[in-house]
């Protein structure tokens, strides 16, 4: 089957605006969805879930969130780690305060709490832009981490200062706590990933997304055509923080289980997620996934090759891993500054003409 638009006639504007306008793309997308829902749960084991798949899914949510803010609305943020911490601690407080409440709603509500916090920290964006805004969000990062360390109420006065996820079930299957099965944790995260990615695509394809992109491309012109910068920017901060908060909640409750805030949600988290969207592609939902996959899979792959195949010492491999990942990031940015999403777009353009390019 060739990758073509030929014979794919669009008879309505709705069809022209479809996300996957080429039949092949549609099949591919549905195929992946079906594989992820129907096949992966039966294959997944502890190693794959914890080393690769769970972090990939959770970071994808965070990357989509940051991409909404930075890629679509043009507001640079270095507060991602701090907002993830808000999601995690909100989730912890909700789980312990309302043991009856389903974990699903705990995670959603944590996103809501983070959205509020994010909107507050988004206020400076009305006055400052670019690097200066990045520094202002950096303040959010450090303040939030400090807060969760300092105020014992957030970690329920536990002696270690850690928060531990209690066991919670969905439809009788445990998704958090030590007894959770890899497949149930996986499906739990997958539901959020699919729902949130779908919502993100819808939010960015219509008038709302255009509002954000107008602010990103030229805020003065955006105002002239009737975009309220206050609403658009704070909206982007709130939505973005909702995503990041959900990611933080899942990261804590499903993936790690126990969290110490400085370690889990420090400044390096903010940078990792920022790298993901830069490498994946700003302003692209697919790019968020691609970037998350790149940053999660590559280190695992390198480690397996260096330790497993070449038999190097673990510490040596760990250092080399940093160097190689760093070099690859530089390489990618030089070759394709618009990220993996752009690379993917170029491949698709070429594929449309292949094998007869002239």
């Amino acid at each position: 089957m060739l990758y073509r638009e030929v014979g794919d006639f669009k008879a309505s504007y709705a069809a022209d605006q479809a996300t996957f306008s080429i039949a092949f793309d549609r099949w591919f997308y549905h195929g992946i969805l079906a594989f992820a829902i129907l096949v992966v749960p039966f294959l997944i084991n502890d190693y794959w879930a914890n080393a690769v798949i769970l972090p990939f899914l959770i970071y994808s949510i965070a990357a989509i969130g940051l991409n909404i803010l930075t890629g679509y609305c043009g507001q640079v943020s270095l507060g991602t780690g701090g907002f993830m911490a808000v999601g995690a601690y909100a989730c912890y407080k909700l789980m312990t305060a309302f043991p009856e409440l389903n974990i699903f709603f705990c995670v959603l509500l944590s996103g809501g709490v983070t959205a509020l916090v994010g909107a507050v920290f988004g206020l400076p964006s009305l006055r400052i832009k670019g690097f200066y805004l990045a520094v202002a969000t950096l303040a959010a990062q450090f303040f939030l981490v400090w807060l969760f360390n300092k105020v014992a109420w957030f970690y329920n006065y536990s002696a270690s200062g850690q928060i531990n996820a209690p066991e919670r079930t969905v439809f009788g299957f445990e998704v958090t706590g030590p007894e959770a099965m890899p497949w149930s944790a996986y499906l739990f995260c997958l539901v959020f990933v699919i729902g949130l990615a779908w919502a993100a695509r819808n939010m960015t394809r219509g008038s709302n997304g255009r509002r954000w992109m107008a602010i990103r491309d030229m805020d003065i012109a955006a105002e002239i055509i009737g975009v309220n910068p206050l609403g658009a920017k704070l909206g982007a901060f709130a939505v973005s923080s909702f995503y990041v908060g959900v990611a933080g909640a899942l990261f804590f409750s499903v993936y790690l289980g126990a969290v110490e805030v400085t370690e889990a949600f420090g400044i390096q988290k903010s940078f990792i997620v920022l790298f993901m969207i830069i490498i994946g592609g700003l302003g692209s939902i697919f790019g968020s996934f691609a970037g998350a996959a790149f940053m999660v899979l590559l280190p695992v792959l390198l480690k397996n090759i260096m330790v497993g195949k070449l038999g190097w010492a673990t510490d040596l491999a760990a250092h080399f891993e940093f160097a190689i990942v760093g070099a690859l990031i530089v390489f990618f940015l030089v070759v394709e500054p618009h990220g993996l999403a752009m690379l993917w777009r170029i491949i698709k353009e070429k594929l449309r003409l292949w094998p007869f390019p002239h």
Partner: protein, 288 residues
Amino acid sequence: MIRNGRSFDGRVDAPADSGAGTGRAAETPGTSGAVVMELRGITLRFGGVTAIRETTFDIQEGEIRAIIGPNGAGKSSVLNVINGFYHPQEGEIWYQGRQRGVLKPHQIAHQGIARTFQNIALFRGMTTLDNIMTGRLTRMKSGIFRQLAWWGPAEREETEHREAVEQIIDFLEIQAIRKTPVGRLPYGLQKRVELGRALAAEPSLLLLDEPMAGMNVEEKEDMSRFILDVNDEFGTTIALIEHDMGVVMDLADRVVVMDYGRKIGDGTPDDVRSNEAVINAYLGVAHD
């Protein structure tokens, strides 16, 4: 919104730079005389600099009103006052029969004033279609939660507005570049897309800041025709700043002339052409 059966009556067949235009006021008295926008005694200062000094003029419904003057005369400042970028220290602004308070630019956009910029201010990362769709934002209502699900109201609204935008794309003859990112378009087309974005808002007052700056004769003729068509077919009131006198004299129903922030002339192109102060401002005057 767009009527079918446009008539190109050949009025712009004469090259725009002929300089022999007699102004349209004589042949098409299409204005109803109702005042859309009135500036009364506007003074705008930036610190010690007075950009606009006690300027009073009005824009009538359905007319093409040109604002001309040498560089630094305060023309762009006038447009910026009209659409709310600057707030004058003195004077009143009356819009559609009501005095306007201090509003933000996006609120003024919602009142039906659209504009283009001297330096193109398109959204470079977006396609032509998306750029023109942003022009419809003042008319789109779906909130973020409706958009989440997309099905139903959000999609319907999108399609409705897409139809209106497609008519503008047809009108401006830019069908072929519908899905091209505007950053890749040549200058003349970008100007046209910007006009399209302003038109998409279906404004009751359209401000054009040097719509023909940097264009060659052919592009100017195209643009002149679009401006005339917009005015004729949609009855849109237009205020434009332009340096090409041939174009101004051909297009405008009435002309305001400014110099050093003051209004020095106001009237039909013919009146203005024979105005002593205007001639002095443009040609210089001997100081003896």
